[in-house]
Amino acid sequence: MALPERKQSVTEARLAGLEIPRGGCTEPAREAALARLWQMGLPTRRDEYWKYTRPETLIQPQPPRAALLRTDEPPMFDAFDRLKIVFVDGVFDPQASDDLALEGVRIERIADLCEQDIHWARDLYGVLEARGHEPVPRPLAAFNTAFAGDGVVIHVTGRPSRPINLIYRHESEASDAVLHHLVRVEEGAEATILENGPAAARFNKCMEIDIADGGRLHLVRTQGRDHERRAATHVFARLGRESMLKCFTLTVNGVLTRNEVVVEFTGDEAVAHVAGACVGDGDFHHDDTVFVTHDAVGCESRQVFKKVLRNGATGVFQGKILVREGAQKTDGYQISQALLLDGDSQFLAKPELEIYADDVACSHGSTSGAIDEEALFYLRSRGVPEGEATDLLTLAFLAEAMDEIEDPALAEEIAGRVRGWLARHR
């Protein structure tokens, strides 16, 4: 079927002169992704899935310039004992990175993996992404699979003693970075992956996560430091029996962020929690688009998204729980809430449930509201100044999302960033 004219032309414009990286075992997957992309076309505002977020700057041939932020704040997770993997404007930097050897995990660059012909990762690259276009296409992810310039393959076979920290540095005002990571957590293995940094003027990132039976993965991401940068990220996760994924994302600042998370339960009794907290001031647009498919028995999914918006900031949430026939005893929960600190900001939410099994417990809710004036007065009447009281109530509002971070030290690190941001934006 031919693409609508507009879609065809923006897709042609974007792909003109772009070559997929040749050679190695990902090449066929990249070719296939490119073919998918031509079929679905890049997003335009006409697409229902992009109704609330303008895709233009994410797909135009050159990214808008993004100033680098100079800050005295120490980098995120700085005080943590972790294995650092650094990318500068989307390119792996071995000098700035740690030695990639760590007990319980094997880490390789995507580029290196392509030197060998047979590798488990070949059967994962682009596979979950390709499964993730039903019922809605995610063309930026297909673009990513086709054109990713770098990325790592993380193979968790045990319980590494330290978290793995993917650090994205932004050093060029015009950089356009495309990273693709693969994560495979083997049976009974468990790891924590941290991600932080503004990455590039424009960042397209895709992470495919395959968790085997009983495997557990904690993913804690922070993004948005350099306000002018734009980011579109995808997580595609497939969960085996009794496995677990906990994904939390903090976003502070950022003119445009679209985070898509696609979770599929294929084994029974698995658990997936996807949570996010964002705080935005002024020219800030933050979109969480989540799709959870229950195709197994007795799985638990939670989507918890909280957005603090002020001075005309925009928050978007599109979340869906799809329970397929036979996915009995599903426990699905979804909440998205915005705290609007003034009348100019807006929250656009589209929560959806689609259920084809009869023995399930699913709930969803979406609200937006202002600071609770009664609570604010109560705090002030006890001597807490208005600004501090507002911050306290704002943190309380975010608490349900932050509670999804299991490690208390990480949770405190994240809360500290939010407190700092709030204090700077009073």
Binding site: D372, E374, A375, F377, R382
Partner: protein
């Protein structure tokens, strides 16, 4: 200490006058009680004094130790030593009771130019005060007032008062919803704070509380005014005969 003169207050949103010229002075070291029919303006008075929004003062003044209360932000009034135990304590989901107490104590210290209390000292203090009010560790950990019973909320107000050691305490129906034993605990909490340089304004409907907290002065409020002032015997009169006689006498 607390001086209210000819205070007129209307609702901000509506043309409805609620306080119609309140005159009241509470001296340091004294306990004053206010009684009065439902809707007479007792809570409104306590809210206006503590700085809640939604009211407009159209005439009169209110000062604490000579300082104009009505000019101050609510937090400044608190730092100046004013405390209101709410008739309906507010629930704050997501904010732990301990965090709430510590934030309040430190904010007031900061406003007075004092150093913050150390975490250890705070913990010790709060445990000791909570114990005398029979507030258990679980209630301290839970979010402020969330899921507390009516009586627990009221005891939690008294705990805040004990921690903040205000100069001028206003208690708005702190006795309502309390069982007999809890009433004693609350009264003991109040009596423990009685001192020559602290004043109390106790709003209540019942003599029972006043049996435990012997007031020095009793005021009757009706239709936005103090219509009668007397000694403790006035409360007994209300208990026995209701307000009809007093109202008739004044009209």
């Amino acid at each position: 200490m607390l001086e209210i003169k000819n205070l007129h207050v209307k609702l901000e949103e509506e043309d409805k006058e609620i306080l119609k010229g309140v005159n009241l002075t509470v001296e340091a070291g004294k306990v004053h009680a206010i009684m009065g029919p439902n809707g007479s303006g007792k809570s409104t008075l306590s809210y206006v004094l503590s700085g809640r929004e939604g009211y407009e003062v159209t005439d009169g003044s209110a000062t604490l130790d000579g300082r104009d209360l009505l000019e101050m932000e609510p937090e400044e009034r608190a730092a100046a030593g004013l405390f209101l135990a709410f008739q309906y304590p507010v629930e704050i989901p997501g904010v732990g009771n301990m965090t709430f107490l510590r934030t309040a104590v430190n904010a007031q210290r900061k406003a007075r130019g004092e150093e913050e209390i150390s975490a250890a000292d705070f913990l010790k203090l709060v445990r000791q005060k909570a114990k005398t009010l029979k507030i258990d560790a679980d209630m301290l950990k839970r979010p402020v007032n969330v899921g507390f019973s009516g009586g627990e909320k009221k005891r939690n107000e008294i705990l805040q008062m004990a921690m903040l050691e205000p100069r001028m305490c206003i208690l708005d129906e702190t006795d309502s919803g309390l069982d007999v034993d809890a009433m004693k605990l609350v009264a003991e909490g109040v009596n423990a704070l009685r001192s020559p340089d602290r004043g109390f304004l106790v709003i209540t409907h019942y003599q029972r509380l006043l049996d435990h907290i012997a007031p020095d002065v009793v005021h009757i409020m009706a239709d936005g005014r103090i219509i009668k002032t007397g000694g403790p015997e006035l409360a007994l009169e209300v208990e026995q005969n209701g307000y009809a006689d007093i109202l008739a006498e004044v009209m």
